[in-house]
Symmetry: C2
Subunit: 396 residues, 2 copies
């Protein structure tokens, strides 16, 4: 009998998207659904970026260089310099979204049966890329009580085995919004040097830090060979659909091997490379404005959540996510209930149950992730819904 | 010590791109290089397609559905119907180029250690995707003497082992240009049904058939569950840089598993989906014009090649490639020599040595692939170069 591969069977469905049919059913009943479940910002993509594509005048939509257009990579050098990251264009490989940068890092540095340690909760799709690569994800738990700080070094080291090859971080973090401190980054550096591991650093949310600044993994002196940074324009410029990211590293052997994977898929998308290149010329205050908007949203959503009875939401230092503990037993059931059985003034809210972000079964059952990707009015309305929902749910 | 994964080491460099540094050096010496080495057409991308992107007026460059925009998939249904392929929108998953469709098929249907049979010479990147998936490519040799017809059924069946899961074809073929006959497609159908195998059918060049019509694998009645078609807009509309393709199958289990891989990478590129969707509205004679142009080029290049002493080039029935046997001992050495040591009136030609297209070591050493992606004048000039080069090379 024809079979689906074992990895095809093991591949996890997206925990963020699995409630979509319930949301669609709610909408079909005329209910307005506030989408706090997914990191798709409502922030407009800068017109300058879209116009660069609209005003393009080439005649043949050609393959680009497999590493991305040289002109774009040269511009990225200046972008990274402005972020305090000193790299050359040959240390940058443009990818099809951050997703492909993650895949390339896994494929290039890890074999089937190898292990990666990831602080949980973590970006759920790391699981998918790990399954595709035959790699085992070893979670080390961070906790809502201390805002999802990096687990103690001893906890991380306990997870290291002869098959451990890398630690994966996302900083600022999706889903927790946690921003790693200088001390935590130094702890990570010490671990990867001591145990000779790669550090895969997903820095998709670099610009969105509300309490202090991001310490990039690329800033870790003496660990240059160990660090592979995975990046994307998706969140930075509200350009998720472009599918342009980058893998950045100073490790030449990694670059050479990644290039072979990059050549096999020929090239990253041409249109969005134009957009990405134009983005480097955005006015210097672009991120100030965007960051100020996200900070207002964060301040509002955290305040609203913590004002609800039995809800705890640590203040996230970056990205545009908040994790909250709710007075419920099963976030998956609750989130489905919000869509299937609840409405408040004809509205409801879609949240991401946190269980999908944990590698350890049973964790996160009282937690949800909220992406504050909607404007302040919508956040207020969605929080009204959640507040009312918790009252009704409790009395069930 | 930090290591590159075994698959990262085993990953083949692109045999088509490995001569690029020699071409660049030739250009730096002021020599004009005719690129017949790569399937990047000089045909202009239809203005209607590019304009659709240029006139787009959305404000947020959002993720699309992981399977691609519904509007695009609906349009693709009508496109496929016009090609005699009867599918619904739910049987189409839009991919990031044909490359991703191949990756999805391999990942979903094959496990590490599984085997795929591929008539050789074959599209070299199948090797790369196989290495990434841990899959073993088992070549079955087709021969230039009979124009690279499908090897006899007995030869194919000899290669089948308990680990064989699929046969991969490209039709019309890259690199040979061979167009499989009705009888050959029926033979393939009999084999996949008898041995319960998948048939992965790469139909990137569907429209470009000069001797008869393409029989799509999707036309094979009774084999619907076995067929996974891999498609792309790259060649069809001279839109290689868009990175939009599709995986098409009637096998629901495959579709469900592919969707999990598709969700992990979030979505295919948004800009080029607009281009792909607009392309379905191209006037009915678009392919007639393009095909006529490619046919003239084929006729010219085949005639020119066969007029050279010691050269044999079978007449390819489709795609835009020709394979030629040259009076040389080592095509890799010769192709490099063309760039490094030869010029004719300040010009030379870049060809793809055929060795990279064979899975069996030692085959193809006298053969080269020529992509007739240049206009008639350039093809004539490049053939002048090759003719002169063969004379000079012989007398060395």
């Amino acid at each position: 009998m024809l079979q689906i591969s074992q990895r095809g069977q093991a591949m996890p469905a997206s925990p963020i998207r699995k409630l979509v049919p319930y949301a669609e059913a709610a909408k079909n009943k005329g209910i307005r659904v506030y989408h706090l479940n997914i990191g798709q910002p409502d922030i407009e993509t800068p017109k300058l970026i879209l116009d660069a594509v609209r005003h393009s005048d080439f005649r043949v939509l050609e393959y680009s260089h497999s590493a991305g257009n040289e002109s774009y990579r040269n511009k990225l050098v200046s972008y990274y310099r402005s972020a305090g990251i000193d790299v050359t264009s040959s240390e940058i490989i443009v990818t099809t979204g951050g997703s492909e940068a993650i895949q390339f890092a896994f494929m290039t540095c890890l074999d089937a049966g190898d292990e990666v340690i990831i602080p949980e909760p973590f970006y759920a799709n790391y699981n998918g890329f790990a399954v595709a690569a035959g790699v085992n994800v070893v979670p080390v738990t961070s906790h809502i009580e201390n805002g999802f700080a990096l687990p103690p070094v001893a906890e991380i080291e306990k997870k290291i085995t002869p098959r451990t090859r890398a630690i994966v971080i996302c900083n600022p973090n999706n889903p927790t919004g946690y921003l790693y401190s200088r001390e935590e980054m130094d702890e990570l550096k010490a671990i990867i040097l001591k145990h000779d591991l790669y550090l895969f650093s997903d820095e998709a949310y670099r610009e969105f830090c509300y309490e202090g600044h991001q310490i990039s993994a690329m800033h870790l002196k003496g660990a240059e060979e160990h660090v592979v940074m995975m990046d994307t324009i998706s969140k930075r410029y509200s350009a998720c659909g472009g599918r342009i990211g980058a893998l950045v590293t100073k490790n030449k052997a990694v670059l050479e091997a990644v290039m072979k994977f990059a050549q096999a898929r020929l090239s990253p998308p041409s249109f969005a490379q134009i957009a990405g290149e134009a983005a480097i010329d955005l006015p210097a205050d672009y991120f100030d404005t965007t960051k100020a908007e996200y900070k207002s949203r964060r301040d509002l959503i955290v305040k609203r959540l913590n004002a609800m009875e039995g809800v705890f939401c640590p203040n996230p230092g970056g990205a545009f996510y908040a994790m909250a503990q709710l007075p419920i037993d099963d976030a998956d059931v609750f989130c489905q209930w919000l869509l299937e059985n609840f409405s408040h003034k004809g509205q409801t809210v879609m949240l991401a149950p946190a269980t999908g972000f944990y590698g350890t079964a049973g964790l996160g059952k009282k937690e949800v992730r909220l992406a504050y990707v909607l404007n302040l009015n919508d956040i207020n309305s969605s929080m009204d819904c959640l507040e009312q929902a918790l009252v009704e749910y409790k009395s069930k």
